[in-house]
Amino acid sequence: MTTPYLLHQLLTETARRSPEQTAVTFGERSLSYSVLDTLTNQLAAVLRARRVAKGERVGVYVSKSLASVVSIFAIMKTGACYVPLDPSAPTQRLAYMVRDSGIKALLTSTMKTTAIQDMFPHDCPLSTVVLVDCDLPAEHTSIPSPMPAGVSVVPWNEIIAEPATPLTELAVETDTAYILYTSGSTGAPKGVMISHRNSLTFVNWAGDCVGLTSADRVSNHAPLHFDLSAFDIFASCRAGARIVPVPEETSTFPIELVKLIERERISVWYSVPTALTRLVLYGNLDAHDLSCLRTIIFAGEVFPTKYLRKLMAALPQARYLNWYGPAETNVCTFYEVPELDPDRTAPIPIGKACANSEVFAVNDAGDKVTRPGEAGNLYVRGPSLMQGYLGRPKETAKSLVRNPFNTLFDELVFITGDIVTLDDNGNYVFLGREDGMIKTRGYRVELGEIETVLYGHPAIDEVAVLSIPDEILGNRLCAAIRPHENATLSREEVVAFCSQRLPRYMVPDLIDFRQTIPKTSTGKTDRVNLAHTFSKQ
């Protein structure tokens, strides 16, 4: 066939070429590419029969498993797009995403059905729940929790009874493939819409960059709602490599993670630096045989050079790649880490543009940065740019703007808000943010979102949320709160209030109640002063 232009065509192509090749392994169970192709055709047929139409948003609510890979391909085969729902987010937050994206059909598994009732509010009714129980033994007797009235539940045995004929293709490459929710500064998460073309721009480059082949075993450490998973799943599929989803619990004990890498002979690993730091500190790397790892890729935050150096010393046979790019563009620059100077402490560069992407930095005067040492805001150009934020034209217009340097025709470029500079070798180096967005353990957090949530509490009059860096625990989130006069508010209440609305990594670690929040001479919150107070705790 012609070069794949839709993500699921990567699957049908590989299944045609190497049907017996193992596609996914999870614990004791595996699926070959031909079985994965068949299952996803069957599931897609059922979804289409249940009226999932092109362009619709279908939720995926599963933990790491075979089901996660089966679900996303099946949804795309119908022409709809998948919306991964973080299995560990509070139901209130999930309910917001369900309503915001208009999800009517949900793919989940029997093991996860307990929270579903609360995720679907009255004004956004759920019509169909499909139990993707490919991970459970055929004779399993688990029963899903009861569903709200009017919801039809499709059991797995109905899926596998379907004929395996592929559906007629309705999508084009500019249709949305998936929507990833990311922290929004105005108080609610925003959905980044990624088309097949956007994703393939990254996937094609990434597969080539790493030189992925069918001999590779690629871990899938990142959850589905993180764009890192697009490499793990789609680039692997393109090459006919084996995908190895990593169960969430395995990540808790670094030694368990190391044992999984050793056992499954993982050859390519891609994760946030925090996971690698934990492997270095607590994974007892020297006592295990990790010679299988040939390439280690990290993205999402700065990797402290001292831990990177330790990792490179422990696993000298591997290639080390630093990838950079927000969810809105996926990876747009990359840097291959050379042997590090023993006394280097500076963070490593984010590097140069990927194939089919262009980046440039714009200084305060509005000119492109060309000299080493000069700083500017990083802009990204190319087909990997998102379609926009779902339902947020104003916010989209702030970040996707007309390219000021193209005088020939109108095109969009993405303003990252990351301040960068150039080094002497033409590599970009990350300096910091221009706003209140921070990274904690690779998670993107808008401090403004936490502040807005806290302002929603009736007993809170004023709040400032900031972050204090912590090498091992990521950024520590600190909240300075001025409670309403005469109101009694405890830390416990604040934590509980946040936990109902925000994921765990966004709940403040330190909470200080104050009668006044310090201000600078211009009347803004004096965050430097607050940071000093919190650092001493």
Binding site: T252, E256, N284, G474, V495
Partner: protein, 79 residues
Amino acid sequence: MESLTNAYICRELIRKPEFQLKNDTLLLESKIIDSVALLKLVIFLEKQFGFVMHPEELIPENFKTIDAICTYVRSKQGK
């Protein structure tokens, strides 16, 4: 040792000081301990009870319950 550890977990990890946590509650299965909580707990234990954990001791068996944690810590103090 059990009550100090119990109090720490309720206050700093579960973040509900009044929580009724049993010393034999399964900490991992009940999701009280995730990767971040685990590291915070280790830092607390090392400081509070004066020992240094070796990487190969960071295993599920030693953190199953508060009782298991204390058994582990006592074995480190005995050395």
